[in-house]
Symmetry: C2
């Protein structure tokens, strides 16, 4: 293996693959990045056996070859290199790579590329493309509702349903739910219903950079997402996603329209008094607007939020983080909140948007 | 107590006093900020009984008075307030303060101001002024060599020696030492030799903002540093500072002149291979330049640094952090390093600067 590359390209490719590196893997080779050079390109690959990422960048290749280089050295090192051509070179079948920059050099023992796991490519049952901006927006709107509890893997993933050209993505941690509908340009032959790991989707958004379009390939147990230079492949999450449709309320006794910023700022201040990240705030709908309040042993706070309220007076306890996450995800100036009672789920979305909804379940206090 | 203030002024004053708050003090009142309003000013004070800070900002005062407000609420809260006039009000002799902003309000239980410790003002034996920029520069140049080991308090402070108009500040953690000389505009009657807590000096730099001049008052056991709106007062550290003069070498067998940036970058890269923050690098002076190298079980790195070297060939082991801290503190393009041997202290400063020196003691390996 022998190639020349510039610092920016090397660093970019390492950044793109690095979340898939398993730094604490019992298999030492998985703590490394596979370097493979041929035909004018350097391809880097990393995998934690769930998520695999590869990234290709142009390089001046004089001897094709490959080697796995320990990530802990090469990743930090690539940031600190001077702005000169960087040469990577292995001698014969040795696992020692010499990296030359200017008059200086680093020599690192790597691992044989032959032992590195192959990149999993789903045998494509269905492939579609989506505009990068649209994909980012969808993930932003649903991913906040993902659970981080690995004990219930289904909730750490996003449901992707495709029925003809109609697609839906849904995430829920059982305390809140976010659903976004969108259209595809082509339709699969059969219904598709798969659960994509949240980490895979968030990672895809991170590496998309300025790419314009994303190509997505699905099989029954794998998903691959490709930009121009980077491919992300991951196992799907097995299991059944809960039947979310029955959770979505369809009749309401009270609707609130208010400024998202004003409501978020008020909830944010009120939460300070409650003192914890998952603190509860009392949300009251009144004819003249919404009142958010918190009472603690140290004092109390009352926030008056101008709002257009229609329907009955309701007193609801919300987890302030769930409320703020849902408000933020709307990415709009105004929120429409629809409620039916003190203990029933509230539905939030930007007024008039029927492609997106966010649901939060009110809290019950220990007294009840 | 009743006053109106805007958000920026309130937040600025809280920021300036907040490092002196003792969040975990067994005395609850010390976890608060004292608010005192009178004569068109709001004065905030906080203390941890070692360091005390107060800050005055203009306010529209309608009823003079004072109250200690728990810092954990008011500090975060001041950041999140809307951009409207903020009213603080207590009723009668009560410790409950009502903070009104727009239609909303926060009510917090405070502590009686009568129980808050008085701000310690040294009965000034000597007062001098110094340009803010010069003071910042001096602290930056010496504070990096401070120890953080509270078991040896003397080394957590900066020695301030004043002899006529000649002042010297020195810090050392026994592994390295930094010394900066400067001139005063006025001279004390006697020699001054005090140890100022590093925290006090760093905190002063932090709150100085755009102030032009600092007024410093010294007594035998206190120091007070004043900007236009903020005063910092602190106990001096008792004890004897080590006689640092005998540590400073005055004859050398090798001198090196090199680019600070090139040497820092090289040391930084080399340290990656050694893997720890306090890792050792081999520093070799050769007729053609300096070589920095590290060898580990995973590989080796060799950095060639162009340098003008005069004198004997030396092989010295440095703690890379000590070397980089000393290089950075010079704030110059070029470094002059003077050495005598493998185990004797090296002296660093910008070429031709005889007001500043940095000393680092080479490491000894366990083999020796």
């Amino acid at each position: 293996m022998k190639f020349l590359i510039n610092k920016e390209k090397l660093h970019y490719a390492i950044q793109n693959v690095q979340r898939a590196i398993s730094h604490r893997s019992p298999q030492p080779i998985l703590t490394g990045i596979m370097f493979n050079c041929a035909d004018g390109f350097l391809k880097l690959s990393a995998t934690d056996m769930e998520l695999s990422v590869n990234c290709s960048v142009p390089a001046s290749v004089s001897e094709p070859g490959s080697l796995v280089i320990p990530a802990r050295y090469i990743s930090e090192f690539s940031k600190k290199l001077p702005d000169v051509p960087i040469e990577f070179k292995t001698v014969g079948g040795s696992n020692l790579v010499t990296i030359r920059y200017g008059q200086s050099e680093l020599n690192i023992n790597g691992y044989s590329a032959a032992d590195f796991p192959a990149f999993p490519v789903p045998d494509g049952e269905f492939t579609f493309t989506i505009k990068a901006e649209e994909f980012k927006n969808i993930i932003k709107k649903v991913a906040y509702a993902l659970s981080t509890d690995d004990a219930r893997p289904v909730f750490t993933g996003v449901l992707l349903e495709i029925d003809g050209i109609n697609a839906t993505m849904v995430a829920t941690d059982t305390f809140r739910l976010a659903m976004k509908k969108f259209k595809l340009e082509s339709a699969p032959l059969d219904l598709i219903n798969v659960i994509v790991p949240g980490k895979t989707l968030n990672e895809t958004v991170r590496v998309m950079g300025s790419c314009e379009e994303l190509k997505i390939t699905l099989s029954s147990n794998y998903i691959m997402l490709e930009t121009e230079d980077t491919a992300i492949s991951s196992r799907l999450i097995p299991g059944r996603f809960p039947s979310y449709r029955q959770v979505i309320p369809d009749s309401f006794s009270c609707t609130v329209n208010a400024s998202i910023k004003e409501m978020m700022d008020a909830a944010d201040r009120a939460s300070l008094l409650a003192g914890e990240r998952n603190s509860l705030i009392l949300f009251q709908t009144r004819p003249e607007g919404v009142v958010i309040s918190v009472r603690s042993e140290n004092g109390w706070i009352r926030e008056d939020i101008p709002a257009f309220v229609e329907g009955e007076k309701l007193d609801v306890l919300f987890n302030v983080r769930y409320l703020c996450d849902a408000l933020r995800s709307c990415e709009d100036d105004e929120i429409s909140m629809k409620m039916t009672g003190t203990y029933t789920p509230a539905l939030l979305n930007p007024p008039g948007d029927n492609q997106y909804i966010s649901i939060i379940v009110p809290a019950r206090t220990s007294k009840e």
